[in-house]
């Protein structure tokens, strides 16, 4: 069942469930952050509407900076602004920022420890038709390896809105990973969000879970669908939304592993270096259990609908269910 404490959207599993793109929620959150704090500024590299920063630009034109197609300049200007007390949010596609400008982010933002927020939109295979060149499948790895950098990957528009608001209040550099497509709204305004805290979205009605599913971003929805179908087949799971990949909620992960003794991770990203790897780093050092990884397996994407790509690259509900059953076998054998 959905964790009743979190006041998640009761219509999640209905066809009538509202849909919204995660990036739209970010755009709305950025406007709210701008209303609260006049030091919040936004910079964009010629993708104002795509990143939903036009909402901020329309409301605060003097605090919006268009830098053109120049992602290296985007983040280094932001770094300078942060040193003068501004809280800059830099928007582009994840493949260009942090893909193109990784070293600038490392040197001028992380190494300087300046509170710049890097917004990587259109992350993951679900970008769809634009094809493999535009599908960032490496960005979590690129950013979580960087000292001083927080990494947040919200599961729906509302969580993205809350993440934007929360990031505006922290004095740390951060990366916010956003998917392009419209997604069902999983949470509600009442659902808590705190940087660094993982939440159990799904749990057995009674008793202990047999497998723990840890997921992030736009894959949370598929993980919940899998959990519901598995429940009907008599397999009890817990689904944890790891919205903050760094700093990672070790306690939540270890507690889950102790209960389930088997873990499946699910992400729209390369398996190498991604969220699942971060989970594995925690577990092998603290409470080793069998883990199965759902993610892209050392390949680039291609054009297609998000659903076609999710199926082709092994991120579907069916793939998650298979992984759960496989890890369950490994646990018992």
């Amino acid at each position: 069942m959905l964790n009743p404490k979190l006041k998640l959207n009761p219509k999640i599993f209905n066809e009538s469930c509202e849909q919204e793109s995660i990036r739209k929620g970010f755009g709305q959150g950025l406007v709210l952050a701008g209303e609260i704090d006049k030091n919040v500024v936004a910079l964009c590299a010629d993708l104002t509407e795509s990143t939903q920063m036009h909402l901020f630009a329309e409301k605060f034109p003097k605090r919006f900076i268009e830098v053109g197609v120049a992602e290296q300049n985007l983040v280094t200007i932001a770094s300078g602004m942060a040193s003068m007390g501004k809280i800059p949010f830099c928007g582009s596609y994840a493949i260009f920022s942090p893909g193109r400008n990784w070293e600038q982010i490392r040197t001028t933002i992380a190494y300087n420890d300046r509170p710049v927020k890097i917004i990587g939109s259109h992350a993951g295979i679900t970008v769809g038709a634009d094809g493999g060149s535009h599908q960032a499948l490496e960005d979590i790895a690129l950013m979580r390896v960087m000292p001083n950098m927080d990494v947040i990957s919200p599961c729906d528009a509302l969580e993205a809105k809350k993440a934007a608001l929360a990031l505006a209040k922290t004095e740390k550099p951060a990366y916010l990973r956003l998917a392009r497509e419209k997604m069902p709204i999983i949470t509600t305004e009442e659902t808590p969000f705190e940087i660094g805290k993982a939440e159990i979205f799904w749990m057995p009605d009674v008793g202990l879970a047999q497998v723990g599913i840890i997921t992030t971003g736009e894959m949370v929805y598929n993980a919940l669908l899998s959990a519901k179908e598995l429940e009907a087949e008599g397999i009890k799971t817990k689904v944890v939304n790891l919205a903050t990949i760094k700093p990672i909620d070790k306690e939540a992960i270890i507690t889950l592993a102790k209960e389930c003794k088997a873990i499946v991770t699910v992400e729209d990203h390369q398996i190498a270096g991604g969220m699942g790897s971060a989970v594995a780093e925690v577990l092998v050092q603290n409470y080793p259990v069998p883990i199965e990884f759902i993610g892209v397996q050392n390949s680039f994407g291609q054009s297609g609908t998000p659903q076609e790509l999710i199926e082709h690259y092994g991120l579907s509900v069916e793939n998650i269910k298979k992984a759960v059953k496989k890890v369950l076998k490994r646990k018992t054998s």
Partner: protein, 306 residues
Amino acid sequence: MKTPKESRASYEARIKIMSLLTNNKILELKKISNDIRQSIIEMLMEAKSGHTAGALGMADIFTLFYFHILKHNPKNPSWEERDRLVLSNGHICPVLYATMAHSGYFPIEELKTLRKFGTRLQGHPHKEYLPFVENSSGPLGEGLSQAIGMALADRIDEKDGSTSLTTGRFIYCFVSDGELDEGNSWEAIMFAGKRKLQNLITIVDRNNIQIDGNTEKIIPLEPLADKWRAFNWHVIEVSGHDFKSINEAVEEAKNVLEKPTVIIAHTIPGKGIKEFERDYKWHGIVPNKEQGEMALKELQDIGTRL
């Protein structure tokens, strides 16, 4: 560290800031830059690695800025109203560290810790270790954008009317000619022209060398002044060793409205030591004991003639 030879108190009295750049002041600046060059040689000999040519070449400009142009307070480095000086090409940091020490940010004795474990004087500046610097640097082509961000932040606040702090504050950026090979540099140059950042003044250390050779052989930069002009900057060219001309250029830059200014300062890499001057091979190596002692003697001789 041998320099300065006087006590700290008399030294500070000697360098007391005068508002006008008189001939006497210029003479004092020449003495200070000579002391700074000696410190640079001593630091590099002690560290046994680092960058010699660029550091020596920029000693006069650093001296003029820290002892005459900059609005700053070494005893209160985080003074909010200070000018900002962004050093982009961090590898010339021996001249930054030596100038900061000589102007009173930290003890001159500390210079000998350059590049050693636990030092505040990292091989390339790291703000976490030495908070007195405005920015960490080393990887090239990134300083100008940061300076632009600072200038932009001040412009936004000025227009907002929410602060009077920014009045009269300038953002200075020192870049090397070699790092103009970087694409990030030109993204920055194009952007600053668009935003007409009149509170941004950039100095290019035009010493014509980079690691692999002379700049015009590696990747030609000329016509460099025309390039900046084409990107809507106000361009001034000066000798990087003529205190009066550089000072006048900065005064001119402060009075240019609706454009950022770049001062292309023609410098001599390795300046002060004849054997090092204009030889690109001195970009990234340091003097051995014999060369260092020879260099110090040469500088001391220049000093006594001042």
